[in-house]
Symmetry: D2
Subunit: 118 residues, 4 copies
Amino acid sequence: MPIIEKGRTEIHVPHWEGIEQQHGFVHGGVVGMIADSAGGYAAMTLTPPGASVLTVEFKLNLMAPADGERLIARGEAIRPGRTLIVTKAEVFAVDGHKEVLCAVMQQTIMALQGKSER
Amino acid sequence: MPIIEKGRTEIHVPHWEGIEQQHGFVHGGVVGMIADSAGGYAAMTLTPPGASVLTVEFKLNLMAPADGERLIARGEAIRPGRTLIVTKAEVFAVDGHKEVLCAVMQQTIMALQGKSER
Amino acid sequence: MPIIEKGRTEIHVPHWEGIEQQHGFVHGGVVGMIADSAGGYAAMTLTPPGASVLTVEFKLNLMAPADGERLIARGEAIRPGRTLIVTKAEVFAVDGHKEVLCAVMQQTIMALQGKSER
Amino acid sequence: MPIIEKGRTEIHVPHWEGIEQQHGFVHGGVVGMIADSAGGYAAMTLTPPGASVLTVEFKLNLMAPADGERLIARGEAIRPGRTLIVTKAEVFAVDGHKEVLCAVMQQTIMALQGKSER
């Protein structure tokens, strides 16, 4: 997972058979998973060494079929708090040079300093 | 409510006494209300004449106190469907030239062609 | 606002002219406001004396017009954590003895021990 | 997936190695996936023959580690519309007879009569 810059990440997932649903698209659950991860990693770029992050909640809108050669999820931390970090992510279905926005996510992450205290 | 461009709107709300909560900030419920409206109006710029819009659902993260001279909500339609329109909105607390992002929203709008059919 | 029991609250709002939208129903923003409040108060029944609560985020589905003599919002804390409390709320439009479920909400509340630290 | 009754479903997922995250719990993305599915299937029990369902959006709160022998997701349709169906789901981590609520979800489903029209 490449870190684009502080507060931003990008996850690339090739489209392979195991994650397809009945129509040959990537399953919505997988789309949610990589959106969740992209937001979580974006938050992680803002936490101090030794801290870990936990997804408190996320909300995902699925907008188009996750079709194409691969998926790219772009995560961004939009509110870097000490305890709570708000992020968003966009998931694109990519075919050659064409990117179609297929899902958007808004998420709350909890930063755990040292041991878990949620 | 000025329309910035097709798919985008901006709502300005002055900070007056009636909408304050106990700490002197604008109440979170009011922040939600103008975020909801900004998203709904952004969707409305994309629907045909005679159609109306209905909020199916929205999700709001409150990130900072809604303090300052006025609030500005910026709405944007990010997925213009015939039946469903996905939008987002950002709410800023404004003091002079300083804008602080105090809330973000993700929303689903239903476009009703002619009469309601939800 | 009567507390039904620990972790549960109920808010009653009469239907008066000032909160109507263009079709004579209670405005969706007001529905969100009382749902948000019902969840927040439910969380507050679980926090220690001196603590305050803050809405981190909420997600609201509007399902039917908020029509009738009054609205009742029922809030419930479903996950009482030390820092974060997850709640839900249901808003009913009431006419005589008939209650129609018009909105459901899922919410994250932050408990602040003493002073704010979000 | 057993249908408990019209509008309700239950999904059981054994805890096996492939779906664990780094701490030995079931990955949050998998929790979201089965919550999404439980809500979608609950909606499907209410649609006419030949119709299909599509997840428009969902919002998930993760509240406790998905630990134990298996996960059970219980879905319920709470607003059965012709076009949109609102559902909720609860995911429990089960160990012997002990059930711990580890996630709650609120979801919007679109019913597609015959061919897709989203």
